[in-house]
Symmetry: C2
Subunit: 106 residues, 2 copies
């Protein structure tokens, strides 16, 4: 594998890595409906504000969300809606895995 190819896949992995956490997936899902401030997301998730803030900055660094400061609050919005297509495919993976499990047990 040459250097250029490797760099390409590393860049891609960085984006996918940012999605690879239940809390962050939840955030993306919520942000797909409408923008939210950190405090709203913190309420929904029930973790420490600092934890939520760090998750958000990971999404931001990956280029998946953007933020806007308004007054004392920071609002995050989903920047790339195509990310939502992930969910459909992932659901397909889960379903087909579940089917295979059934086959084994049956």
């Amino acid at each position: 594998m040459d250097k250029k190819t490797q760099a390409l896949f590393e860049a891609r992995a960085k984006v996918i890595k940012a999605m690879a956490h239940p809390t962050r997936l939840f955030m993306v899902d919520q942000l797909s409906r409408r923008e939210h401030c950190v405090c709203e997301l913190t309420d929904m998730i029930g973790a420490d504000t600092s934890t939520v803030s760090k998750h958000l900055s990971i999404l931001k660094n990956a280029g998946i969300v953007s933020m806007e400061k308004r007054g004392s609050q920071v609002f995050y919005q989903l920047r790339v809606p195509c990310i939502l297509n992930f969910f459909g495919c992932v659901e397909g993976v889960l379903k087909s895995s579940a089917r295979d499990q059934m086959q084994l047990v049956k």
Copy 2:
């Protein structure tokens, strides 16, 4: 966030986590063209066979690839082609991040 929602996002994250590594993304890309045995992938990647084997078993556990033993070799194949749609979207994220960087520098 209730228990059921949490479990859903954890299941989804497990699948995406399996993709969240450059080597594994490369494997998925290769397997999308045709099936490959472990030895072929090992040659392409240039890591220890055991490392490659472990990456493949992570993809298998996530339900992304399946394997078939034929003689002394093990062939892996992509089970869910929709995974390939990830790449298009990820590329979009990278492109739009790059554009934003340009704006900043310019």
